[in-house]
């Protein structure tokens, strides 16, 4: 009869182990999924920029420097690691801000329908990147917490789950919300 107690405990431990393992896998997949969302938007931006450059060139010939910065940042958008990609994206956002400000000096550009549409689309992608990055970091935090807390850290160690770094947020961006009441 006393044999049943250790057997029961062992069975519970196995169930717990499996649940923790599955939770870790799920979080790791969620992190990759969040990155995939960012990636989709980066590619979209990469594809939109040439159109924008052509449009602006037609109306504002003397703004080579601004255009150059945009093109240069765009070309680094899909290269390197995640941190480099996002850094390129931040530079692109900065350069685009200067570019969009040009419409005040060029009324024809401001009235150009295609230009307005491109601006809207590029701002949309920027917001989606911000949203996906927030999701990424939130999920990384959950994952890393599980990786470090006892006893789920035992499961993580045995199966070789590695810590994931958050995507840093540049100081220029909106500061994080303090989640307190």
């Amino acid at each position: 009869m006393t044999l049943w107690i250790p057997l029961g405990v062992a069975a519970l431990a196995v169930v717990y182990w499996i649940a923790q393992y599955n939770a870790l896998v799920r979080l790791r997949n969620w992190i990759e999924e969040a990155w995939a969302q960012i990636d989709v938007q980066l590619k979209r931006r990469y594809d939109l920029i040439p159109n924008l450059v052509e449009t602006v060139k037609a109306y504002a010939k003397h703004e080579q420097e601004t255009l150059q910065k945009v093109i240069e940042a765009r070309n680094r958008l899909l290269a390197g690691g995640r941190a480099e990609q996002l850094e390129a994206n931040e530079q692109l956002t900065g350069a685009l801000k200067t570019l969009f400000a040009l419409q005040e000096a060029y009324p024809d550009l401001k009235a150009h329908e295609g230009f307005n549409k491109l601006q809207e689309q590029l701002e949309g992608t920027e917001n989606k990147i911000a949203a996906a990055r927030q999701l990424y970091n939130r999920t990384v935090m959950q994952y890393n917490t599980k990786l470090e807390s006892f006893p789920s850290n035992l499961v993580a160690n045995v199966h070789g789950f590695k810590r994931v770094e958050m995507l840093e947020i540049a100081a220029a961006e909106r500061e994080a919300v303090r989640v307190e009441f």
Binding site: W30, G124, K128, V177
Partner: protein, 302 residues
Amino acid sequence: MLLHAQIEANKRKTVLLVSVFLLLFVAAGGALGVVLWDNEVMGIVVAALLGVLYVLLMTSQGTQVIMALNRAREIKSEDEHPFLWNTVEAMAIAARVPMPKVYIIDDPSPNAFAAGMKPENAAVAVTTGLLERLNRQEIEGVIAHEVAHIQNYDVRLATTAIALVAVIGVLSDMALRWLWWGGGRRRRRSERSGGAEGILYLVALVFLLVAPLVAMFVQLAISRNREFLADASGAELCRNPGALASALRKISAVPEPVQAASRTCAALYISDPTKRQRRFLGTLLSTHPPVEERIRRLEQMM
């Protein structure tokens, strides 16, 4: 209070309220049984059948029905309203839910709501007044609030509550009609066995009369509770509690009601679309917590 603790507290309250709701539902069924057939089990069975049927109906076509009730038209591509479309998509990404369908209601009074039984078939609707009177950050805050409702399964809870209130109303109606047509004269167990059963019969009758009212109170309490949670998690999604607070301020400052809004769906909106002013029983009867209190809590998040 930490956001996490706030969410937990809200969940506990919701469980409590839903339990009260179900008890009420079963009791109404039992009462109907006593009044109609002198058999409470039979009443509970009938009530359960009706409830399941109604909830199934809402599950299968709830979103479309609700959108039609509020005269909302769907926008099917980014081109029709790029900013709205992109904002809904961004907030859905942040909340890790599939992108909801997007609807616009032609009405100058700013407001918005979400509907659907699960995130996969959910939808968000905003009025043209909202798009015109609020700035982009504020609109983003409102969308974040609605997507948070979808993420938290509030929309399912609200839709189910609407269905249950309707069914309790039907039960009460059945009993009253039956009495009206003179059904009460049949010989009952109560007459054979003395006063106790007769009292039970009366209690059941009175209960059936008030049950629809009580059900409505519970439904409203559920919806009030979920608003704080959606405000908190919405603020987290858009990372801008100030924008959501100022959106609420602007929406509640407009005195005109949303003409297109269906009254049964009032609890779904971000802020009461009927704009009714209540003095008597004010808090018990309102679909939403006081705007000042919601704004205060949001400002504490900043």
